[in-house]
Symmetry: C2
Subunit: 435 residues, 2 copies
Amino acid sequence: MTTVTALEVHDVRFPTSRELAGSDAMNPAPDYSAAYTVLRTDGEPEAGYALVFTTGRGTDVQCAAVAALAPYVVGRDVAELCADLGGLYRRLTGDPQLRWLGPEKGVMHMAIGAVVNATWDLAARRAGKPLWRFIADLSPRQLVDCVDWRYLSDALTPDDALELLERAEPGRAARAAELERVGYPAYTTSPGWLGYSDEKLVRLCGEAVAEGYRLIKLKVGRSVDDDVRRLGLARGAVGPEVRIAVDANQRWDVGEAVPWIEALAPFDLAWVEEPTSPDDVLGHAAIRRRVTVPVSTGEHTPNRVVFKQLLQAGAVDLIQVDAVRVGGVNENLAILLLALRFGVPVYPHAGGVGLCELVQHLAMADYVAISGLMEDRAIEFVDHLHENFVAPAVVAHGRYRAPHAAGMSAEMKPASVAAHTFRGVAVAPAPGELR
Amino acid sequence: MTTVTALEVHDVRFPTSRELAGSDAMNPAPDYSAAYTVLRTDGEPEAGYALVFTTGRGTDVQCAAVAALAPYVVGRDVAELCADLGGLYRRLTGDPQLRWLGPEKGVMHMAIGAVVNATWDLAARRAGKPLWRFIADLSPRQLVDCVDWRYLSDALTPDDALELLERAEPGRAARAAELERVGYPAYTTSPGWLGYSDEKLVRLCGEAVAEGYRLIKLKVGRSVDDDVRRLGLARGAVGPEVRIAVDANQRWDVGEAVPWIEALAPFDLAWVEEPTSPDDVLGHAAIRRRVTVPVSTGEHTPNRVVFKQLLQAGAVDLIQVDAVRVGGVNENLAILLLALRFGVPVYPHAGGVGLCELVQHLAMADYVAISGLMEDRAIEFVDHLHENFVAPAVVAHGRYRAPHAAGMSAEMKPASVAAHTFRGVAVAPAPGELR
């Protein structure tokens, strides 16, 4: 029997604020960081890996939250944990005492996501498969059983979901082969950070097109005049065929968003992302009714219940999913099923530290086993910090290659962890009573 | 000059699960706890006090989050901090790195609430006033300046709020005198915990009426037959004149809630509280459209943006506010103003550890300086753990007495803190760079 022997959490911080990569209207100088989570075992595979992406300060708080979950996994039988990933997720989100600290949102929920994702990574490694394939090899019934259906039944029931998944089942093998052959579309945010000069913007836009991207994204929201000027430069640099999305990072109130977005509409935008508070379902719906640009949000959407409402309210034309914001793979399966049910395309959020590595698996599993769709979809790509990962995401000619290494691709190089550890390793308490 | 010398955070836990006080459909065995927060100074007053209420496990995580905010207050001039409470609140919620961990929700947001509330406590102590009076003595303009108006302008603008507050200004003195004379209505949840026997329920219902309560609340949601039986017993015990509310603590999906609530409707209920997920604005609205019992929520509502939507969507007949769930006094001022704007009464959430002590000040300030209303309002009261506070809330004849002691009443007795400290004192790092 292989047992989980420890839950390690590392406070890893990269000094990205020095170069303004990652700068946007609400995050002027992030230090891209992670609560890097390792589930050690006494057998093979030797560990499962995951992380919570953070932007500097507070990473220690996020680490403390992950460490608090040790009693749920340390000392447990790996085979049992991996055989009931839905049960683990529901035990963690349902802990009647920890639940008070959310429920299902913020630091505690992201910590649950890390432990859940690390266990999926472990399960996929045990099976010798990349996570996207491990998920896509589960039966429709197994996938349905991974989801916590509470609060969803007014939009989607387990039976509805089972039907959707069974409909996609016959095409799985062909789509997996297609994915291996052509990869999955990527788009890039690298040219568009708010802190970059006009010259750098134009140069990076040209490079993105040369590298094969068909969609780029620019940060907006500091000044409408700046945005119009920068979009003009970008549109000139990429030509009329390449799509341009913009991201306001929660900058506006509803009334402010509408004229600002309409001022940018002539640049033929693919979408405007996070126009207002990520909690404001009705605000997104009001904005969407009044603008001609498609509206999107999701990277800060705290859980499946808020995604459900965004879809029910017709608040969005598309959504972002994030691998580490919600309660792990299980909750993202629910969100992907909801998006399919409402016919809304998913453009996964990535960048940061390791987000490309993790989220690619969800998009690819969605294509193979859930929506069956890869058209009008693309995974965000930002080209930094990948060198810190053992099996980094690979994007070539504007497409993510399907990963082959077993697991969720979250494992970092030990040397990177050591070099960027902020305050040593926080090792969780020994297993024992939940108290 | 008086300076903040330290931010102390104590992990304080009471073993309430042994007696099933506090048991409900989602929280079968809470250990009422607190991240007890003390802002020490080198002068007079010697400290400001606040807390985040928790239910056992994870209190250490909550303490770590409070400690992470030390650089914002330690080493600062107390007079300056107290002169710009709106600025402190906006600096804390706007920290571009910590913001990623919410934004404005969960562990990090409640930590901000504790630091903000401790600073209000300090400010009220400096002025020698109980917090309710300290707030009610601020000018309409000062009150407006305490609020973060971002994301609210589609429902309420600062100018609208100023007008509401100015309208209430002339009656302040008379209402303060009235409050001193008659106190503020209370209701009690003490009889209705789900873990209590029928006999204990009936006995406590009778005692509540004898003590002068005109409104009691019962936990429901474990089984509809149990609920019908218990409500029958309760209605029999209190008679037809005393109002009965029920609280489902997030137990149901939308479709499940409707017939369950209608099965309880014959008992003439004052409201049904938390019928479903606290994040489900549209779910509450759907339930409200289909039942005859007034619908309510709020104790887990993470921030003003979600309260705004509950009101915009017509999802609730009344709301609960909680003193420690959101970003402190400032955000609760926004919520009270929104409730007034939409004409929705506020029945503050209390119980737990210290929640009665803290929230009474908000309700009383609302009566004196904001809504001017005390009819169709009552503050929850649960009669336990008050003995741990230096100036406990006092309820007599079914009404809260207006507190006279300076501050927000959050200070705990040192002996109580010492006796119930779970893992010693977490003292925050020394002031310095925000990193």
